[in-house]
Point group: C2
Chain length 390, copies 2
């Protein structure tokens, strides 16, 4: 499946939750499959921290040939014949405002200054993203979504859709998510942000203007993030205490190698893996975007305006829900999904809940666990599709 | 209890596990209580990452008056009438080599260069510390210890004592510890180290020579560490999603304040707490020491030289053991203590084990949980003291 990103310009200002106004902006998005005649088969897929609108298929090069390694980040979930079947559903994925993959964000030009927005880009929230997505759907002539789906921060957007636009969402698929961040979640985000902000190359967020990039901070931020995406079990299974082989060829069991006794060089495989992930990330991700998106996570808290009572906050929702969590996810643990399930049930909502026994931690929502993929497939085939046809 | 640190110089070189040789060195230590006539009531207390030889009592100022806030880090555990009762036992606590509280370490002068050791200070291991402690005990004329005790990294030293000097330890009290670090443990250490090493003020570890200090890196390192010391539960109970009040007076519940919508300023109480901890730490702790001590943690793995079989590694131990773990400690979980218990039982060792249901995470080993303190008290009164008297 070859896909082409599209860009939509919005000339109408967007009033953000903070009160700030984004004067005009672009949204980059992709669609997969065809909107049916009744305009009833559209599914919006929301992305998490470092992902984008490119959820499925491959991009093409100038000759129209598929580009290797350009696979969408949820290609195992979305496509023809896949759990979210694009031969049946019209799938839309939007790069969120403030991100760094095409939609207007801190790397773009601030019309007021003619310079990159940098740290002056306004703080965006989950609610703002949902409003921006809704405007795009208006232009695509999609009034009601068959479903909204997302994992992690994408699940928060999904939940928010059912509250901000209760009449526009038939089904909400909320995966590996939470009704808000815990203190520990915020703490990890904050350390990552401090690593970025205190990098001398951050230049108070105007590094592009200064011709620098706070790569050191981004590396640290990504390393911290990565630890929280994985479970202790899967880290032990994948890396354990293995040392990195001296000739960089392959992993060697710890017992087969002698310690090098070094404090600064790589000794263990896990160190090598984390450094690699950090380096890679720092080459493509924007530091101000990292601050904005982690803050959107911190701020999301629908119960906040209801004295902390989640069931009151969710009383507006009219959608039917599928929630999925993963047993070893300690970032957004099953207990957090169960909080949402409980609050929905208190509102007599139609809720299905699957707690998948998977070893992979938070990352499991992106991986090929058959029970997980089948749970999503079954929901779309047996529940969402019935209403689309009806 | 007023105590005075003492310094012992060692002119004999110490051959380290890495093969490097420390030509000469000082150890700073404190003692509490009196060695009995039979020299049978000595207890060695080992410290963890950022602690020191000052485990109990108060230091005095030049006039001999107690200095406020100079209380030893384990003063709730050790002192007259306390669980480790210094009216009964002669307690010795040593600052480890490579640390920054008096014993020879990276901030001291490298005799070969006349400059601070900095990053050239040799890598020290748990085993090296134990050897250095044993030499000090020789000078103090203590051949056999009634007990060795330590929490976390101190527990690793305690375990190592029973393997390196099985005939010199009657009892080993190993608290909130582990037989080695998991991949996740190493990962957190590595991120902290990278934050320090990539701080431009680290100057490849020779910041003292350059007249700088890598405070940014130390702050991040400490923030990461702090998150892993606390449980998710206690963070939620203590900070939750509360916002920091604008007038800096006191904590205010989130619902009572409006978000400020900021990516760089403090918004949540947990952020304020972590920044404070990071700032404080960066003022007194040495960056190279942080690297060395986290590496000592990474490298500790007695099973490594026994094909990974812990019970083989522990076959040398002759001591009796008390192990204690805390239910919410996710850094060194109860499962890790149980691994040690199991391996000791396989060797028919005498083992007591207490798993304390405490909410405070890894930090619990420093706190005033009555069941925990009573478990230690009972062990010293009923078991260790009997043998001292005998």
């Amino acid at each position: 499946m070859i896909v082409t990103p599209q860009t939509q310009h919005f000339a109408e200002p967007l009033v953000l939750k903070s009160g700030a106004v984004l004067p005009a902006y672009d949204l980059v998005y992709e669609t997969y499959g065809q909107l049916n005649a009744g305009r009833s088969n559209a599914v919006l897929v929301c992305h998490a921290l470092n992902a984008s609108h490119h959820v499925a298929g491959l991009h093409a090069d100038a000759n129209g040939d598929p580009v290797a390694r350009s696979e969408g980040w949820w290609d195992n979930m979305i496509g023809p014949g896949k759990p979210l079947d694009t031969s049946r559903f019209f799938v839309i994925a939007v790069n969120n405002l403030g991100s760094c993959f095409g939609s207007t964000g801190p790397t773009h030009t601030n019309p007021a200054t003619g310079q990159p927005w940098g740290a002056d880009f306004p703080v965006v929230t989950v609610e703002d993203w949902v409003n921006a997505q809704a405007r795009l759907l208006d232009l695509l002539n999609v009034q009601v979504l068959a479903a909204v789906m997302g994992g992690s921060l994408g699940g928060m957007q999904t939940l928010s859709w059912t509250l901000q636009y209760p009449d526009r969402v038939r089904h909400a698929v909320v995966i590996a998510s939470a009704p808000n961040l815990t203190a520990e979640n915020i703490a990890f985000n904050e350390v990552a942000r401090r690593a970025i902000v205190t990098d001398p190359d951050f230049c108070e967020g105007h590094y592009l203007r200064e011709g620098t990039l706070p790569r050191r901070g981004l590396r640290i931020a990504r390393m911290i993030g990565h630890i929280t995406y994985l479970s202790d079990d899967v880290m032990n299974a994948k890396f354990g205490r293995s040392l990195r082989a001296r000739d960089d060829t392959e992993a060697v069991q710890a017992a087969e190698l002698a310690y090098r006794y070094t404090t600064q060089d790589v000794e263990f495989q896990i160190e090598s893996y984390l450094r690699y992930q950090g380096d890679k990330f720092s080459e493509y991700f924007d530091a101000n975007t990292y601050l904005l998106i982690t803050r959107a996570l911190d701020y999301f808290d629908p119960a906040r305006e209801h004295d902390g009572v989640l069931s009151d906050a969710l009383a507006r929702a009219k959608a039917k829900f599928l929630l999925i969590s993963f047993t070893t996810d300690w970032r957004f643990s099953p207990a957090r999904s169960r909080e949402i399930v409980k609050a929905l049930l208190e509102n007599r909502c139609d809720v299905s809940y699957a707690e998948i026994d998977a070893p992979h931690g938070h990352d499991a929502f992106l991986l090929d666990d058959p029970r997980y993929l089948e749970a999503v497939r079954a929901y779309f085939e047996q529940t969402v599709a019935q209403e689309v046809a009806a």
